[in-house]
Amino acid sequence: MEFNVTNHQLCVGDIKITGVASSALFLIGDVQTIQLSSAFDTPPESLIIGPLVPLSPEG
């Protein structure tokens, strides 16, 4: 496969961001490679009902 890119004018106005979090990447510039991976877990088992202290690990 052949991939040809021609970058003409790139002009951006103002940028307003509330938050960049959890290993996120906000970049102004060129980059060769990016590898991103993310896991977010909030399964039904994570809801513990009752006074169970300490928290039990998942089985």
Partner: protein, 135 residues
């Protein structure tokens, strides 16, 4: 590879926390990693909890990382060598995040978040409030 020059009028960030980076200038590589255990409890007092990352599968599993060397013949040309951006306003940068202005060689970011909610058991003697008015 011939890369472009980033021109930013202004950059304003209120908070940069938890190993986050505000990088101005070219970067060879970025390797960010963040692990979080978020515990939400309904309690009058918050006692210390003895929890460990290794008890949860999400922190043990190796991640799938996409390969770097795809069999693609790529070529780039930049007739306009500038990336122009106006004013940037960021309220918060957190948890190993990176805000960068400039060219980057390689970037690898990883994030794992586990949420736990703990709610007290409802008292069974408490009658369930009847929302329907049966008078």
């Amino acid at each position: 590879m011939f890369s472009r020059i980033s021109k930013v009028k202004s950059l304003l960030s209120d908070t940069v926390s938890f190993s986050s980076t505000l990088q101005i200038g070219d970067t060879s590589y970025i390797d960010g990693n963040s692990q979080a255990l978020a515990v939400q409890k309904r309690s009058e007092t918050f006692h210390s909890v003895d929890i460990h990352f290794e008890d949860y599968d999400i922190f043990k599993k190796p991640f799938y990382i996409p390969r770097l060397n795809e069999p693609v013949i790529s070529s780039f040309s930049n007739p306009n060598p500038f990336i122009r951006v106006g004013n940037i306003n960021i309220i918060g940068v957190s948890a190993s995040s990176v805000v960068g202005v400039g060219n980057v060689g390689h970037a690898r970011m990883e994030s794992r978040v586990k949420h736990i909610r703990e709610v007290p058991k409802q008292n069974e003697e408490t009658p369930i409030e009847d929302s329907t008015n049966n008078t």
